[in-house]
């Protein structure tokens, strides 16, 4: 830290600065009680960057436990169906626990062990990050408390049960809107209370610095693998990357290693819920404004008084009224395009993927696929379109059945 090299304006991967800022976004907007912990974490994380033992330990668990590298798969039938671009899926849904979330959890728990922490806390929305955290806590033998909005506990019962089977304590959060943002508040309150022994594993590229950077770095394995795999498959880099975005960790993980490749177009797909013109969506960039929440400045869903408003998406993992600060910056500088797909778009994409590829995508990446469906037909036949299939849809079958009016 501290070295103030003058970066040319045409690099997009140099952030954050020493204050944890990406442009004006990011930062460390936390209570004083937590501030010394954040500074400790930053020091400990910085130390791992020059530590080859940490890197090889991380690589070991990703390979033998998570099952990396995840395949880069040519979705031939979908490509034929759309009649345009060649569509590839980065198949992070094949990871252990069924999503990209585990990549970050492995990294953070290794760091927690190094810091001598003996208790893990986490927040979860859909339950994917909670399951991934509970999994690594079982693996490394640390007690785990997961905060989850009471509403999410009710609608994600299978994941709640999974976490409990893995030995985690799941605490339903009854404050506020009883969803992911309130779970985050409650996890922060736990951390403020249990400062000595507790490590907070945040599940996305948000929160106070260094979390957005650290989670991005751990998830960058997705993009690093995809670069090599696409070169091997097609002899060159992809033309367009597409990823869904709630907090934005899968998108950041895919995009980051490509940010300085000028020829690579990047599109992130927010959840438009029932439509951007309704009050029921989760599109912080497309329909929100800059504010400060959960330790960072970023785009938020808020009213004119700066009160946070409810997010909505059929995909619980996108149901958050904010977005990672690096995305806020990438939007403002124009490096990444931010678009949105509705619940209905995502559901249609889900069905198509199931029928044509034999893959049930999670409802989150189904949003990305909905945008692929929009652009692929117009693109030339040699255009390489790479989408992050960041989670599998097993967890969503109950939600989908309910939406379709099917009784299981």
């Amino acid at each position: 830290m501290g070295e103030h090299s003058i970066e040319p304006l045409n690099t997009y991967s140099a952030g954050p600065d020493e204050r944890g800022r990406f442009g004006t976004y990011g930062g460390r907007f936390v209570a004083e009680t937590v501030m010394p912990l954040i500074l400790d974490l930053e020091r400990a994380y910085s130390a791992t960057k020059d530590d080859s033992a940490f890197a090889s330990e991380f690589a070991y668990w990703l390979k033998y436990y998570v099952g990396r590298p995840s395949p880069l798969y040519f979705a031939e039938r979908l490509s034929d169906h759309f009649g345009g671009a060649r569509i590839y899926f980065k198949r992070d849904e094949l990871n252990h626990t069924g999503a990209h979330k585990i990549n970050n959890c492995i990294g953070q728990i290794l760091l927690a062990k190094r810091m001598g922490k003996t208790r893990i806390i986490a927040e979860t929305g859909a339950g994917q990050h909670g399951v991934a955290t509970a999994t690594v806590c079982a693996l490394f033998g640390l007690p785990c408390t997961v905060y989850m909005g009471a509403l999410d506990v009710a609608r994600q019962a299978p994941n709640v049960f999974r976490m409990k089977l893995l030995g985690a304590e799941v605490v339903p959060v009854n404050s506020g809107t009883q969803t992911l943002k309130d779970a985050l508040n409650e996890a922060l309150r736990d951390w403020v209370t249990n400062v000595g022994d507790t490590f907070y594993i945040i599940g996305t590229v948000a929160g106070p610095h260094p979390y957005p950077m650290m989670v991005r770095d751990f998830q960058s394995v997705i993009g690093v693998e995809a670069r090599d795999q696409m070169r091997e498959a097609e002899g060159r880099l992809p033309d367009t990357l597409v990823a869904c975005i709630g907090g934005g960790s899968n998108a950041m993980g895919l995009f980051y290693p490509f940010l300085d490749e000028k020829g690579v177009r990047m599109i992130a797909v927010e959840a438009a819920g029932e439509g951007l013109d309704t009050a029921r969506h989760a599109a912080s960039i497309s329909a929100g404004s800059p504010g400060v929440l959960h330790g960072n400045r970023t785009y938020l869903l808020q009213d004119n008084d700066g009160q946070i408003t409810d997010a909505h998406s059929i995909a619980a993992g996108l149901d958050y009224p904010g977005i990672g600060p690096e995305h806020a910056w990438l939007n403002d500088v124009g490096r990444v395009e931010y678009v949105a797909a509705t619940d209905a778009d995502a559901l249609a994409a889900f069905k198509l993927c199931a029928k044509l590829e034999g893959i049930l995508p999670a409802l989150e990446p189904a949003h990305a696929l909905a945008h692929v469906a929009r652009i692929a037909p117009e693109l030339p036949g040699d255009h390489l379109l790479l989408m992050n299939l960041c989670g599998r849809g097993d967890k969503d079958v109950f939600t989908i059945a309910e939406t379709l009016g099917v009784e299981l």
């Binding site: 936390v30 209570a31 004083e32 009680t33 404004s289 008084d305 700066g306």
Partner: protein, 274 residues
């Protein structure tokens, strides 16, 4: 000495040889009418300094009592505009009691920090406590507030070690708010001897008055802290009192009654200690 209203109040307390009582209530809780009544009667009931909470949907550092208080206020139409209007009205009837706005940064960020400072100055506000603005994020509000003559009151906590304290104290004025426990507002209290040690540690770093809060609920608890600190902050038990009496319409009388009891505890503390 002149200085700010807060400086004058602490000078007067020193002259009286006693600690002060700092009361916290949320602006607009349980509704705007009752909240104005609560606010107007606090000085008479014995509050030496008033912290007026700016309600926020996501009060990350607060326990259940203040969370619920914020929620009640917002449900009854509270906003930063309403808070500022309440401050302005309070100043029409009381030009002496220091008024500190306390809350989180986002509503201020949305209002515009400089516009907020103008409005707060015009309303007769003396200082701010913004929970999620540590010294690392001083540039947007703290520095312009200090320049405009406001007191910016910082929280110091058990995790703020001696190496960090100077950084926390640098742009702090008026008083230092010592959070006596690691935890959220309304959680358990620290034992008196621990508070005493902590206050001594702070006094080694600053000449500013030290107010102690978090977990102080009763006149006895307030008295115990008042033997060590320059002021005692009570919040959660006051807003719980609001909650208990909101339905009956007696919230103002009940809060003033509790404030009177707390003030007695604080005012009698040093006499009974020596």
């Amino acid at each position: 000495m002149s200085g700010s209203r807060i400086d004058r109040r602490f000078a007067a307390l020193r002259a009286e040889g006693r600690a002060g009582l700092v009361t916290f209530v949320s602006a607009g809780d349980p509704d705007q009418g009752c909240s104005r009544e609560i606010l107007a009667g606090l000085p008479e009931a014995g509050a030496d300094i008033i912290e007026l909470g700016m309600p926020f949907t996501d009060p990350m550092a607060d326990g259940p009592a203040i969370q619920a208080s914020s929620r009640r206020a917002l449900d009854a139409g509270a906003s930063l505009e309403v808070t500022l209007a309440m401050a302005r009205d309070f100043r029409h009837t009381d030009n002496e009691t220091p008024l500190v706005l306390m809350g989180y940064f986002n509503p201020i960020h949305r209002f515009g920090p400089l516009a907020f400072l103008d409005a707060a100055g015009e309303a007769g506000v003396d200082g701010f406590i913004v929970v999620d603005l540590p010294p690392e994020e001083d540039d947007e509000l703290c520095l312009p507030a200090c320049k405009a003559g406001f007191n910016f009151i910082r929280l110091a906590t058990p995790t703020t070690d001696d190496a960090r304290l100077p950084k926390v104290l640098r742009n702090t004025s008026g008083f230092v708010y010592y959070v006596s426990i690691t935890g959220t507002t309304g959680a358990g209290a620290a034992p008196p001897d621990v508070v005493g040690t902590a206050v001594s540690r702070l006094r080694g770093h600053t000449d500013l008055p030290v107010a102690v809060g978090f977990g102080i609920r009763t006149p006895e608890g307030a008295a115990a802290v008042a033997r060590h600190a320059d002021a005692v902050v009570v919040g959660s038990s006051l807003v719980e009192c609001v909650a208990r009496h909101a339905e009956s319409g007696e919230a103002a009388a009940a809060v003033h009654g509790l404030t009177r009891a707390l003030a007695e505890g604080v005012r009698g503390a040093r006499g009974s200690a020596t």
